[in-house]
């Protein structure tokens, strides 16, 4: 069961909202599909991201996947550990495998996302 306090995109990103900061990563479903993650290409701090637009790329040995932002905002932090330890995406996708932190523009965008049950349904049908 995926964490119930998070919200999800249909492209397998999760978001945790804390005040006006959102932490974003990919789900363990995505990490399993990718296989061993070898590289995460993230934008610089200060860049704007747009809901449902791509903000980066996650690369495994045999696959590449675009990363889609669950919410719009400005990047305030990126996970520096992923540079040396991309495998964190596989081992702890909802924790140490987080990718970017964003200052949220419009909190209402959360309602466009799936909740845990909705995401579970999506992945069980996959």
């Amino acid at each position: 069961m995926v964490p119930s306090d998070l919200r999800y995109t249909k492209d397998h990103e999760w978001v945790r909202v804390d005040g006006d900061t959102a932490t974003i990563g990919v789900t363990d479903f995505a990490a399993n599909q990718l296989g061993d993650v070898v590289f995460v290409d993230l934008p610089a701090v200060g860049k704007a991201v747009e809901q449902f637009a791509t903000f980066g790329v996650v690369e495994s040995v045999k696959a590449v996947s675009d990363l889609y932002a669950p919410v719009s905002g400005e990047i305030v932090e990126t996970n520096a550990d992923l540079g040396s330890k991309p495998e964190l995406v596989n081992s702890d996708p909802y924790g140490e495998g987080w990718m970017i932190r964003v200052k949220v523009g419009d909190a209402a965008q959360i309602s466009d996302l799936l909740d845990a049950a909705g995401y579970e349904k999506l992945t069980s049908e996959a």
Binding site: V38, F39, D41, E59, S60, V61, K62, A63, V64
Partner: protein
């Protein structure tokens, strides 16, 4: 059939297993209107007759001339061990190492090639190969656009004309801008890139440049001020691409020494015969930060589950089979066997032998220059060169034709190769390598002396060749 094993009995057996009477049933899914008639080609040719035919065709080429032709493809001595190893079927009848466990030979040989070229060029990342020097240069130029996010590249007119044409084809395709930097026209630096013009162009902040491309030695054999050009490029936020001749790197400062970001070049000189154009070896190398931008295969070292050292294709997510329309390049099949040939040749010669080859070429070129001067034929440029240079020859196309009839392939007629380069209408581009003999040089000097000395040669030429 020549190589197929199937006897009529074999075919019957296979058809029986399919419950079919005729192989035509296997082609019933081709709609009748689309079925072609029989191929209108000659009948099969037994091997003995084929070999006669091929020998006859080969004999119609003339390759026993005293040749001074370089211009991007160079004759070098190749120790027999190179070809004897290349003829091992385990090397040349394997394909891309998709199953690394049974391809360690190919994989390690590519890793060694990457390492050898990295040493030569002074850059850490070397691709497993590209088609030729021109395609490698085009890929290098495209890399500068991807890496900087800028859409325009400057290329010196002293880069090989074929390479510039290929750059133009690739850049038109990608919708990117390409501009040429002119040559210095007169004086001691004539024939080299006009760095003042380069600086002026780079200063135009309205049209920022992604990359600057110079060759070393350049197409005219002259040595460029690569460090100065590199600095100009970097000061303007552009990347610097050096197009290099690998044998010369035994004695010339390599791209790493002048902070080039990317090196491209033609590896044919590394023991690969001229073969009328290919297959050749596109060399492409870059600094480590650019590793995710470099197209082509990369082989890296790793370990297997038992801890054995092993080699594998890596960073494959850059490539077309994974990234598809987002791949940096569409390259799939490359020139691996030629990379092996280069590794074999470099191993056979070693660093001393390689340096000797470069130095012998320089020595022969000095002799050539002196021999030609002694019959009144002077260089077209004053700058430093390694083993190739242009000479001033009145009615160059006619003289070249006449010399060919006398058994001398007097280099390249520049009026044909670079017709829009002013001041080179009467010039030939000549080179010497370690295989150029003193006799060749004496013959060339004697014959050209005669041809130019005769009254007929002083008449203006009519229609060019």
């Amino acid at each position: 059939m020549a190589y197929g094993p199937h006897t009529p009995a074999d075919r019957e057996r296979m058809l029986a297993a399919l419950g079919m009477d005729s192989v035509d049933e296997l082609f019933a899914d081709i709609p009748k209107p689309l079925r072609s008639g029989p191929l209108r080609l000659d009948p099969p040719e037994p091997e003995q007759l084929l070999m006669n035919r091929l020998a006859g065709l080969a004999a119609r080429n003339k390759v026993d001339l005293a040749s001074f032709l370089g211009a991007g493809a160079y004759r070098h001595f190749s120790p027999p061990l190179v070809d004897q190893i290349l003829l091992r079927g385990e090397w040349y009848t394997a394909y891309t190492p998709y199953q690394p466990e049974v391809s360690q030979g190919t994989l390690q040989s590519i890793y060694e090639y990457e390492s050898l070229i990295a040493e030569l060029v002074g850059l850490d990342v070397v691709s497993a190969s590209h088609y030729d020097g021109a395609a490698a240069t085009a890929e290098a130029a495209l890399m500068t656009c991807r890496a900087t996010g800028r859409g325009r590249v400057l290329v010196s007119r002293a880069v090989h004309p074929h390479y510039r044409e290929v750059l133009r084809t690739y850049f038109d395709g990608a919708g990117l801008g390409l501009e040429e930097i002119p040559l210095v026209a007169d004086g001691d630096a004539a024939g080299t890139t006009d760095l003042a013009a380069l600086e002026r162009r780079l200063a135009d902040a309205e049209n920022p440049i992604a990359g600057v491309v110079l060759a070393q030695p350049n197409f005219y054999g002259l040595l460029e001020h690569m460090a100065d050009a590199s600095k100009l490029a970097h000061d303007a936020g552009a990347l610097f691409v050096a197009v290099v001749e690998p044998v010369s790197l035994a004695v010339l400062a390599p791209p790493g020494a002048y902070a080039a970001d990317i090196a491209a070049g033609e590896g044919q000189a590394l023991g690969i015969p001229p073969q009328y154009g290919g297959p050749y070896l596109g060399i492409l190398a870059c600094t480590e930060p650019l590793v995710r931008q470099i197209p082509g295969r990369l082989v890296g070292m790793t370990a297997d589950v038992d801890g054995r050292r092993a080699y594998v294709m890596t960073l494959q997510a850059r490539e077309q089979h994974i990234r598809r329309e987002k791949a940096a390049s569409n390259i799939c099949t490359n020139q691996t066997l030629l990379a092996l040939a280069a590794s074999l040749w470099l191993s056979a010669l070693g660093p001393h032998g390689l340096r000797d080859v470069a130095a012998l070429g320089a020595a022969r070129a000095s002799e050539l220059e002196a021999a030609l001067a002694s019959v009144g034929v002077a260089r077209a440029h004053a700058g430093a060169y390694l083993n190739e240079f242009a000479i001033r020859v009145p009615n160059a196309p006619a003289v070249h034709r006449e010399l060919l009839g006398r058994g001398v392939l007097a280099g390249l007629v520049l009026a044909d190769a670079v017709p829009d380069e002013p001041g080179l209408a009467d010039a030939l581009l000549v080179c010497a390598t370690e295989v150029t003999t003193g006799d060749d040089i004496a013959t060339f000097a004697r014959e050209i002396g005669e041809v130019l000395g005769s009254p007929a040669s002083r008449e203006p030429v009519g229609v060019p060749a």
